[in-house]
């Protein structure tokens, strides 16, 4: 297949001219209009292609970001799971509980730990 009739191949449009003498000025106008339209169509197709390409690029980047974020969420929740296991294993053996320990939580951050940790939930 030959490359782009999108370019300056207007030879097709040069069809046989009309018989009457006023033909030429009409012809000129016709040719001018055809040419204008050709350029407009070319521009429009170019815009469509660019829009699609840019959308595809953005899409690809969003998918990558999405995968990375899911990985991070997985990593963090597994770390949290690990910590809770460590804690539960330690609890029966714990020797560190005394009145002084409560200072750990209440001391400098008095009241802070009673705050709700609210995780926003969007209804589906």
């Amino acid at each position: 297949m030959a490359q782009g009739s999108d370019n300056n191949d207007t030879s097709y449009t040069k069809s046989p001219s009309p018989g009457n003498k006023q033909g030429s000025s009409d012809d000129v106008r016709k040719v001018m209009r055809r040419e204008k339209n050709r350029i407009a169509a070319q521009k429009s197709r170019m815009r469509q292609t660019q829009k699609a390409d840019s959308l595809h690029l953005e899409s690809e980047s969003l998918e990558k970001e999405n995968a990375a974020l899911r990985k991070e969420v997985k990593r963090l929740t597994e770390e949290a799971k690990y910590l809770s296991t460590v804690l539960s294993n330690h609890e029966p053996l714990c020797t560190g509980l005394s009145g002084a320990s409560t200072e750990l939580l209440y001391g400098a951050h008095h009241g802070a730990f009673h705050q709700h940790i609210s995780v926003p939930h969007y209804p589906l």
Binding site: D9, L57, S59, L76, L83, S84, H90, L97, V119, P123
Partner: protein, 158 residues
């Protein structure tokens, strides 16, 4: 979060009512992890769905890197002028076939672009929700590890 309530119980302090999270903790990061509210314009959805098939669902339909490649530049054949007397039935039959195929191709392309656009919109929302989730998790882990560190400083490692 469950971790923090365990920590509080463990240190025998009065638990404050933490809302426990509903989302399960899957091993597979591809399982849907964050609830996202996404309501695409129903007109857009209609433009992205084939009437004979299921309505397009941006949550499930991922577009592979292959599908997202930039538009291949199809080399269009030069228009060859054909005189009227050569335009026989066979010619017109072929023209009609090609016109139908061209329309089918344009429609398919338009549909695909619409689907990609909706999926992109959904992903933006989902990523924002995921980012929030990561921030919350980090914050919570940070607090717990901080408390644990203080405990360990006093009583040695667990």
């Amino acid at each position: 979060m469950f971790l923090f309530s365990i920590l509080i119980d463990f240190l025998r302090l009065s638990p404050s009512g933490h809302p426990s999270r509903d989302t399960p903790s899957p091993i597979d990061p591809d399982t849907i992890q964050v609830p996202v509210r996404y309501e695409p314009d129903p007109a857009d959805l209609a433009l992205s769905s084939v009437p004979g098939q299921e309505i397009f669902d941006p949550r499930k339909r991922k577009f592979s890197a292959e599908e997202l490649k930039p538009q291949p530049m199809i080399k269009k054949a030069r228009k060859v002028f054909i005189p009227e007397d050569l335009k026989d039935d066979r010619y017109w039959a072929r023209r009609r076939k090609n016109n139908i195929a061209a329309k089918r191709s344009r429609d398919a392309r338009r549909l695909k672009e619409n689907q990609i656009a909706i999926r992109a919109g959904f992903l933006e929302k989902e990523n924002a929700a995921l980012r929030q989730e990561v921030a919350d998790l980090r914050k919570e882990l940070g607090r717990c590890k901080n408390v644990l560190a203080k405990y360990e400083a006093r009583h040695g490692p667990l």
